[in-house]
Amino acid sequence: MGKAARNPSPERNRSTTPANRLAAEQAALDKGPLALDRLIHERLRLGIVSALAANERLTFNELKRLLQTTDGNLSVHARKLEEAGYVACDKTFAGRVPRTVYHLTPAGRRALDKYLVHMEAIIHAMK
């Protein structure tokens, strides 16, 4: 066995740790025609989009209870999805209580479909 094999360089060692390898693989998957959509990859935003794909319209409170999150967290992530055009919301009043109802836009549904294809491709690649 050669010297290089017995004493691998720090550079080589870094690139083969599980964490680095995972990061490198994810970076590779971020490129190309089916690049990972980071916007819906985040867990709470993925939850919002998934819930709205199953249920045509959901109120802010329903989403909050379903995803077990806080008002602040949900509004921040819902706003990001709104800015990206993935979800849209209608604001009305039920009596004196403000009511925000979200629904998925066609762009949001396409983004979720693409994300599902991406995840399935990774799983099939391992089989």
Partner: protein, 203 residues
């Protein structure tokens, strides 16, 4: 054009694969929960159970009489009104919609077996089998609740199965035990599951 499969295969680690599988499971679970009808009223169920106990006490053992049938039909009407009001109140309290595909699916699953119960009631009465109606009602209601429960919170289908079991037993048991089965089903099961739903699913 290079596919994800071709692009990723040489270097994919089991961790990335696990991560993708977890994400898919999360999406599936979230979609399943989002499609549930959650405005099932626990406290309404308790009230319906109390109505059934009252009807059992007033009507007594099953008999082929108009009075016995009338008491139970009136109770069923009161229970439906109670249930509808309780659903509306719970939906309003939690800001839940009472229209849309989820509610439609739940209603479409619930209603056919209840329609069958109406037809069978007429047939049983016509052939002098009124005393055997408890088994028929428990089975039909159980079937309705079980199928509706497929689109609702977890305890609902279990309640439906319990009703079906009681209905089957009611047909095996002597006809004059029918009021005990009515009390056990429409009374005790409604109260028991009503409390479970009220405690765990917001009223």
């Amino acid at each position: 054009m290079i596919s994800v499969t071709q692009m990723a295969q040489p270097s994919l680690s089991p961790r990335l694969h696990e991560h993708a599988a977890e994400n898919l499971q999360f999406i599936r679970d979230t979609m399943a929960r989002a499609a549930d009808f959650t405005a099932v009223p626990g406290l309404g169920g308790v009230l319906m159970g109390l109505l059934a106990f009252a009807a059992t006490f007033v009507a007594g053992p099953p008999s082929n009489t108009r009075a016995w049938l009338g008491i139970w039909l009136a109770t069923a009407g009161a229970a439906v009104v109670t249930g509808v009001i309780a659903i509306q109140r719970k939906a309003r309290r939690h800001n839940l919609p009472l229209s849309g595909p989820v509610v439609r699916r739940f209603a479409l699953a619930l209603v056919p077996a209840l329609g069958v119960a109406v037809v069978l009631t007429a047939v049983f009465v016509q052939y002098g089998l009124t005393a055997r109606l408890p088994g028929c009602w428990l089975l039909c209601y159980g079937a309705a609740v079980t199928s509706g429960g497929a689109f609702s919170v977890r305890p609902v289908p279990f309640m439906g199965v319990a009703f079906i079991a009681l209905g089957a037993l009611a047909f095996v048991a002597p006809a004059d035990w029918g009021h005990f089965f009515m009390a056990a089903g429409f009374g005790a099961l409604h109260i028991l599951f009503g409390i479970v739903i009220a405690r765990n699913y917001g009223g």
